[in-house]
């Protein structure tokens, strides 16, 4: 059987190994710990590195070290740990190193709780650390996508030499679903030539310091050029029954699954409702959103947060149609019924 019943968190690690990831550096935190556990289980027998670091700060800097060798490597955590990693992510982006960072969001701020939330959008999508950088952010909504998008994240990271996030919530991490691996070919690990390998022909420099303001500005401009290319090429999304929809629901991760059910139920009551689901949060599929602005009368953004994605949607929509927001926080997952009620009111 090439299908397996798996938690999303386990699917991440299988996807990573198939993608040729050779090193995992992490620190336990609920609800992301199964990722470290799966890595501890599978990486060493596959001749790959697993290190449980002393902190998230150490683990992201280990990632910097391994990524600087031009190999595929990763770390995973949840909100509080991602906060700690931010300085390191900024260095990785500044030094233009590829790596994959998985964030399984939990309730915040502070210690919050371990229930699923989507309050890390800002710290992950907007850069989070210091300086003018951006990370690509994938937003899986199933165990299958936890595997597939992690696999893809390594390609994207290498293609642009840039950190790439897989941003999911506790729900997607903990949920078990069938995962099919048959379409994923194992990628042979290799060391990219720009990396430091401890050999005579790899005396390269991994660095993010540029003392001269003009030189640093030029470096920044080069980064912005790269981000522009990413915006043009890497946005992915999924539509569901949007063609004739008057009201389009927008959500990512577990929320998008709930919204899909809302669309079905709303359609059963004769309402023209559809779903737009970004699969990348940065870059967002701007053109597609603009196209939908042309056909729909209203958007409703639903998030398990105080409203973070909705800011970006409103920036794109520029007031052309109303963009409503509904959010739950604290680890409460909105029910189909409660969103359906709002949907009916807005229709």
């Amino acid at each position: 059987m090439s299908k397996e019943l798996l938690k999303g968190n386990y699917a991440v690690i299988k996807g990573a190994l198939l993608a040729g990831c050779v090193a995992y550096f992490g620190y336990p935190i609920t609800p992301a710990s199964e990722i470290a556990e799966a890595a501890a289980y599978y990486f060493p027998p596959a001749g790959r590195t697993f290190v449980q670091a002393e902190s998230e700060i150490a683990s992201i800097n280990m990632v910097y070290g391994a990524a600087g060798a031009g190999v595929r490597c990763m770390t995973a955590s949840s909100g509080p740990g991602i906060s700690l990693k931010q300085e390191g992510v900024s260095y990785i982006a500044g030094a233009e190193l590829p790596c994959v960072i998985v964030d399984i969001m939990r309730g915040g701020p502070g210690l919050g709780n371990i229930a699923p939330e989507q309050g890390d959008y800002h710290q992950v999508v907007k850069g989070g650390g210091h300086g003018n950088y951006k990370c690509v952010v994938y937003a899986p909504n199933s165990a299958q996508e936890m595997c597939d998008l992690t696999y893809k994240a390594f390609d994207t990271a290498d293609k642009y030499r840039n950190p790439v996030y897989v941003l999911a919530d506790g729900f997607i991490g903990q949920m078990m679903e069938q995962v099919d691996f048959s379409h994923l070919k194992p990628i042979e690990p290799k060391k990219l030539e720009w990396g430091v390998h401890g050999t005579p022909d790899s005396k390269n420099l991994i660095n993010s310091i540029y003392l001269d303001p003009d030189v640093l500005e030029a470096h920044n401009r080069k980064l912005q050029e790269k981000y522009k290319k990413i915006e043009e090429n890497e946005a992915i999304f999924e539509n569901y029954k949007v063609d004739d929809a008057d009201l389009i629901l927008i959500g990512y991760g577990i929320t998008s699954r709930i919204l899909r059910s809302v669309v079905d139920e709303a359609r059963n009551s004769g309402l023209k409702v559809g779903l737009f689901r970004p699969k990348t949060l940065w870059p967002l599929a701007k053109d597609e959103i603009n196209r939908l602005v042309g056909s729909a009368k209203k958007f409703l953004v639903v998030e398990m947060s105080n409203g973070q994605l909705v800011d970006d949607i409103r920036l794109i929509v520029e007031g052309k149609i109303p963009v409503e927001f509904y959010g739950r926080m604290g680890g409460n997952v909105p029910t189909v019924d409660e969103v359906l009620e709002i949907t009916k009111k807005l229709s």
Partner: protein, 476 residues
């Protein structure tokens, strides 16, 4: 005063191309110890013929520009994190020689966790620790190693132990750990000590090349600028002030006894990786989906009970077998606020199509293993749904009359089989017998996936059969 420099080590660049301004001299202040230690590192690499394998990690601090000088692989690390960066690169470049070069603010303040744990893991790296009792780069602030009474810009009246504590002795700390094999403190104050410093650095690198273990050399080093003294006086200051507090000696050396580390396992790929991951590449037989009877198709199942009644496992079993029959499935345990009140529950969907929300809000099938579960979820059931309830633990009748009720004394039947923990499997038997949701044959094939202790499979199978029999014999 200094030994004459006869020749530039070849581990140094001839011209410091990364540097702005004069590319033939270093960026260090006159009289600074960093340049001397750089030279010792470079000549040790030369003498050991390790230059081409070396990776130099520059910290944040005055030696942030170490990469200007070393003709090796180079990293510049975040403040304090050089040992973590060194760990990352060494683990994926196991044949390299990795040097984590750090100042005292970097290593003994902001990076204390990283150095202690890199040492404790016994990373195969060499740490060169420049203890100059001050923050040089940022203009002379107090370091964790600043001496009691020493004036700095942030201890303007002298370091006061009641406010700032005592200077940290890193060799003393590191040498307490099991893993490090060689820990020595040296000083740059006179020719004899400098010769020792040079030897210590070479020894540490040699031990790394022999894969013996973690090596650590602390260098008491002058910072005339930060200390606001002339270079000659700075050497005297090391001797008179630093050495009495920071004894210069070998703190630990077990390099003779230490066995070289085993070679790391080679990276496996292709089919071997698939095998490790348990991914079987055999083509999916175009299996015909088992036909679920119409009235039970696309079930939304809620299973609830006390923790320990195996409700989560029962859910996994249904999802696993459903998947094996070619359906899309989801399983999600109760999460967050739902978990209050001592009951555990899970939601399972088995569906022809894509599953939207995996949370079962309105079950078509409810399994209640205890009374609070029935009280909580019976009211949510869709009309026409089917309720399986554990009469061994529930002494009340369900209230609804628009649902099908299947009373099963699951816990009792399980205890008759000798283990009350298989009550969940009795319920599984009852469900598949009553609804024909899934075939027993596939449940049997599924055991190996959801029962982790193989010796318990026969008991579980018996329990499923007992549940099936109970439904049959009682015409439920």
């Amino acid at each position: 005063m200094y030994e004459p420099i006869l020749e530039k080590p070849k581990s140094f660049f001839d011209i410091y191309k990364e540097k702005s301004g004069d590319q033939t001299i270093t960026h260090y202040c006159p009289g600074c110890g960093h340049g001397i230690v750089h030279k010792y590192v470079a000549s040790a690499l030369d003498e050991l013929n390790l230059t081409d394998k070396a990776i130099f990690v520059s910290p944040v601090g005055c030696s942030v520009f170490g990469y200007y000088y070393f003709n090796t692989g180079n990293y510049q690390a975040a403040h304090g994190r050089a040992p973590a960066v060194a760990t990352g690169t060494k683990r994926v470049n196991p044949d390299s020689i990795v040097i984590s070069y750090q100042g005292d603010g970097d290593l003994a303040a902001i990076g204390t966790a990283e150095i202690i744990h890199a040492a404790n893991r016994g990373e195969l790296m060499t740490v060169i620790f420049i203890n100059n009792a001050i923050y040089g780069m940022t203009g002379g602030q107090m370091a964790p190693t600043t001496l009691v009474g020493q004036k700095t810009t942030t201890s303007p009246r002298g370091r006061n132990p009641y406010n700032e504590g005592y200077p940290v002795k890193m060799c003393e700390l590191i040498s307490q750990l099991n893993a490090p094999i060689y820990v020595e403190r040296v000083a740059l104050n006179n020719a004899a000590n400098r010769a020792k410093a040079k030897r210590a650095i070479k020894k540490a690198l040699k031990l790394q090349a022999e894969r013996k273990g973690f090596t650590f050399v602390e260098v008491l080093s002058q910072c005339p600028t930060g200390w606001k003294v002339d270079p000659p006086d700075s050497l005297k200051w090391i001797e008179e002030k630093m050495i009495p507090y920071y004894p210069v000696k070998v703190f630990k050396d077990i390099s003779n006894e230490a066995e070289p580390y085993p070679e790391p396992k080679k990276i496996v790929s292709g089919n071997e990786l698939l095998e490790i991951l348990g991914i079987k590449s055999e083509e999916e037989k175009d299996l015909k989906k088992y036909e679920i009877p119409k009235e039970y198709r696309n079930p939304k199942i809620k299973i609830a009970g006390f923790g320990g009644q195996g409700v989560l496992l029962l859910g996994v079993a249904l999802a696993q077998v459903g998947m094996m029959e070619g359906y899309n499935v989801t399983w999600i345990p109760s999460y967050g606020p739902e978990m209050r009140g001592g009951t555990a529950n899970c939601s399972v969907n088995i569906s022809d199509g894509l599953i939207g929300s995996p949370v079962v809000e309105k079950p078509t099938i409810l399994v209640a293993m205890n009374k609070p579960s029935m009280e909580k979820f019976e009211k949510d059931m869709v009309p026409g749904g089917i309720l399986f309830y554990n009469t061994a633990m529930i002494d009340e009748e369900p209230k609804r009359d628009d649902i099908t009720k299947v009373p099963v004394p699951a816990t009792k039947i399980a205890s008759d089989l000798g283990n009350i923990r298989v009550g969940n499997m009795v319920m599984l038997g009852a469900i598949i017998e009553k609804t024909k949701l899934l075939p027993f044959e596939t449940v049997k094939k599924g055991f190996e996936y959801f029962i982790s202790r193989k010796n318990l499979i026969p008991l579980n199978e018996k329990a499923v059969e007992a549940g099936m029999r109970y439904v049959r014999e009682n015409n439920l």
